[in-house]
C-alpha cells in the first residue's frame, strides 16, 4: 500500500509542470490551426483589395477598411438575404417548437389506442435522409404554388420527428402527480400542457430551439433548390450562388458576407458556450 502511494506520488510530482506546459502548448498550436479559417474570414473582411491580392500573403492587415461591408450591401440584396435567413430559421424554429411539443405531449402523457405504433412510425422516419425525399418535397411545394414563398420554405420543416421524439423523452420523465392535481382542479388538457408541463421542460425546448435554428440557418441544399428568385435566398445560398464554381465575388466581399453570416450563431455560441455545446451534442445525435 505504501509502495503504491510513493510511486503514484512520484509520478505526479516528477514532471508535472513540464507535462502541463507541453500539453498546453500542443493545445494552443492545434487551436491556432483550427481557428485559422475563422481568423482569415475575420481579418480579410477588413482588408483593402490591394492587400488581399498582394504576394506574399499575410495574416494581419496593415490598413483597415469597411469597404467590403459597404460593397456587399450595395452589390447584393444582402439586407434582404439576412432578413430571409432570420425569417426562415426563426420561422422553422418557432413552428417546430410548438408542433413538436404538442405532438410529444400526446405521445407521452395521453393514453390512446395505437400510441405505441405511432411512436414507432415516427421514430423510424428518423432513418430517412432528407436528401432522399428532396424531389417529391419540392414537387409538392411547387404544386401548392409555394415556390419562392416563406410558407413554402418553412412548411416542410414545421414539425420534425426528432424534435417530437426528444421532447417526448423529457415529458415522459416528468412526474404524473404534477398534472393530475391540476386536472382534478378542473384545468383543461391544453392548460395542463401549456402552464404546467411546458414550463418544466424549458431546457429541452432551448436545446431543440438552438439545434433547429443552427441547422436551418446553416442549411444550403434546401434554400438552394427551393428559391429560384435571388431575392428569396438565404445568406448561405445567396453567397454560394455568387461564389462557388461560377463565382464572381472578390474575396474581400465574400469574407465580409461570411463574417456577417457567421456572426449571429457565433455570438449566440459565445454567450451560451457550455449550454450551446450540450444542446448541439445532445440533439446532433440525430441519425
Amino acid at each position: 500500500m505504501s509502495a503504491v502511494t510513493v510511486r503514484s506520488a512520484a509520478r505526479t510530482s516528477a514532471r508535472p509542470v513540464v507535462g502541463r506546459a507541453l500539453a498546453f502548448l500542443i493545445a494552443l498550436a492545434l487551436a491556432f490551426a483550427v481557428l485559422l479559417p475563422v481568423l482569415i474570414i475575420a481579418v480579410t473582411a477588413f482588408k483593402p483589395p490591394a492587400e488581399i491580392n498582394a504576394f506574399p500573403p499575410g495574416l494581419v492587415p496593415t490598413s483597415w477598411t469597411l469597404g467590403n461591408f459597404t460593397r456587399i450591401f450595395t452589390d447584393l440584396p444582402f439586407a434582404r438575404l439576412l432578413g430571409n435567413s432570420f425569417l426562415f430559421a426563426g420561422g422553422v424554429t418557432a413552428c417546430a417548437l410548438v408542433f413538436d411539443s404538442l405532438a410529444a405531449y400526446a405521445l407521452a402523457r395521453l393514453d390512446f389506442r395505437g400510441r405505441g405504433l405511432l411512436l414507432v412510425v415516427i421514430v423510424s422516419s428518423l432513418m430517412i435522409p432528407f436528401q432522399a425525399t428532396l424531389i417529391p418535397v419540392y414537387q409538392l411545394v411547387a404544386h401548392l404554388g409555394w415556390v419562392n414563398t416563406f410558407q413554402g420554405m418553412i412548411a416542410p420543416r414545421a414539425a420534425d420527428a426528432f424534435g417530437i421524439f426528444l421532447l417526448r423523452q423529457f415529458f415522459v420523465s416528468l412526474p404524473r402527480d404534477l398534472d393530475n392535481a391540476a386536472r382534478i382542479d378542473g384545468a383543461s388538457e391544453f392548460r395542463v400542457f401549456w402552464s404546467i408541463v411546458l414550463p418544466n421542460v424549458k431546457p429541452a425546448l432551448l436545446t431543440l430551439g438552438i439545434f433547429t435554428f443552427v441547422n436551418n440557418w446553416n442549411d444550403l441544399l434546401w434554400p438552394l433548390i427551393f428559391t429560384t428568385d435571388p431575392e428569396m435566398g438565404t445568406i448561405t445560398s445567396g453567397l454560394t450562388l455568387l461564389t462557388g464554381p461560377s463565382g464572381i465575388l472578390p474575396y474581400g466581399t465574400m469574407m465580409a458576407g461570411s463574417l456577417i453570416a457567421v456572426l449571429p450563431l457565433g455570438l449566440l455560441f459565445l454567450a451560451l458556450q457550455g449550454r450551446f455545446i450540450e444542446s448541439v451534442a445532445t440533439t446532433g445525435l440525430k441519425g
Binding site: F24, A54, L110, A159, I225, M254, S258, A261, V262, L265
Partner: protein
C-alpha cells in the same frame, strides 16, 4: 443536467420505447384530445416525409422529367445506375469520401478529447470552445474560407506550405487532391462535435479502472488500449456509424469548392441527385439514386439500433 447525462439520454433513448409500465387506456375522449394535439405535426410529417418517401419510390420506376407524360420503366433507372460507369462512380467517390472522412474525424476527435480530458490542462474551457467553434459555422461559409486559404496565387496556407517546400499547386483542380481536400474541410468542420461525444464517454469511465491498471504497472499507452478503448467501444461504434451516415450525405462544401470536378472526382451521390434531379431534370434516375442513398442510410441506421439495444441489454442484464 450535465452534457454527459443528456447525451446518454439521447442515444440510449430508442431502446426505452415501450419500456414504460402499462397504464389504463383512456376512452374516446382521450383519443379525440390526442388527435387534436397530434394533428399539426402529423399533417406536416405525412405531407413532407411519408408521402415523399413513397412518391420517390414510385418516381424511381418512371422516366419522369417533372413535366408532361411519364411512363413506367420498371427497374431501368436502377439498372442504369449500376451499369453506367459515370453514375456508378459517384457511389465509388462517396465510399472513398466516407473511408477517408470517418477514420480521420474519429482519430482527430478522440485525440483532442483525450487532451481536453486532462484535468490539469490550462484553459480547458477555452480550448473546448475553440475546437467546437467550426461545428456551428455553415459548411458553405467554411468552404469559402478554405477556398481563399488554398488559393494557388494568394492563399495564405498555400504560401506557408510552399515556404516549407510543399508545392501542392491548385488542389481543387487536381484530380488526385480535390477529394482529400473536400474531405479535410468536412473533418475540420465536424470533429469538434464528435470530440464532445467522446469527452462525455471518457467521463463515464470509472476512475478505479485506471487506478487498478496503474497499480498493475500499466503505462499510459497500455492504459489507453486496455482501459480507455474497450470502455469507449459503444461510443466508438455509435460515432463511426453516425460519421458514415453523414459522409454519405456530403454535398455543401463540394458544391462550393469543386462543383463535383475536376473530371467528376468529387461527384458524390447527393451532388449527382442534385444535378440529375434539379439541373438535367431526369427525375426518374435521380429518384432511383435517392433510393440507393436511402437504403444505405437505412442499413447503417439499423446496425446502429442493434448497438443501442445490445448496450441496453448489457446494462439491464
Amino acid at each position: 443536467m450535465s452534457a454527459t447525462a443528456q447525451a446518454r439520454r439521447a442515444y440510449r433513448a430508442p431502446a426505452q420505447l415501450g419500456g414504460r409500465p402499462r397504464r389504463r387506456r383512456g376512452g374516446p375522449r382521450t383519443a379525440r384530445l390526442a388527435s387534436a394535439f397530434l394533428l399539426p405535426a402529423l399533417v406536416i410529417l405525412a405531407a413532407f416525409v411519408f408521402w415523399p418517401v413513397l412518391s420517390a419510390l414510385r418516381l424511381s420506376f418512371t422516366d419522369s422529367s417533372g413535366f408532361g407524360a411519364e411512363h413506367f420503366v420498371g427497374l431501368a433507372n436502377y439498372v442504369e445506375i449500376f451499369t453506367t460507369p459515370r453514375i456508378l462512380r459517384t457511389l465509388g467517390v462517396t465510399t472513398m469520401y466516407a473511408a477517408m472522412f470517418t477514420p480521420l474525424t474519429i482519430a482527430a476527435a478522440l485525440a483532442l478529447a483525450l487532451l481536453l480530458n486532462r484535468k490539469t490542462l490550462w484553459g480547458r474551457g477555452f480550448f473546448r470552445t475553440a475546437f467546437f467553434l467550426p461545428f456551428i459555422i455553415s459548411m458553405a461559409v467554411a468552404a469559402f474560407a478554405w477556398e481563399f486559404l488554398l488559393d494557388p496565387q494568394i492563399g495564405l496556407l498555400n504560401y506557408w506550405l510552399q515556404s516549407a517546400g510543399i508545392h501542392l499547386g491548385n488542389v481543387l483542380q487536381d484530380p488526385n487532391l480535390a477529394l482529400p481536400t473536400v474531405v479535410l474541410v468536412a473533418v475540420w468542420k465536424s470533429f469538434g462535435f464528435y470530440m464532445v461525444i467522446f469527452i462525455a464517454g471518457l467521463q463515464d469511465i470509472p476512475g478505479e479502472l485506471y487506478e487498478a491498471a496503474t497499480i498493475d504497472g500499466a503505462n499510459a499507452w497500455q492504459r489507453f488500449t486496455n482501459v480507455t478503448l474497450p470502455q469507449l467501444s459503444t461510443t466508438l461504434a455509435f460515432v463511426t456509424i453516425f460519421a458514415l451516415i453523414a459522409a454519405f450525405q456530403a454535398f455543401d462544401q463540394i458544391y462550393v469548392l469543386t462543383g463535383g470536378g475536376p473530371y467528376r472526382t468529387t461527384q458524390t451521390v447527393v451532388m449527382e441527385i442534385y444535378q440529375e434531379g434539379f439541373k438535367k431534370l431526369d427525375i426518374g434516375l435521380a429518384s432511383a439514386l435517392s433510393y440507393v442513398l436511402l437504403v444505405i442510410t437505412l442499413v447503417l441506421s439499423l446496425i446502429q439500433f442493434r448497438f443501442f439495444n445490445r448496450r441496453e441489454e448489457a446494462i439491464a442484464g
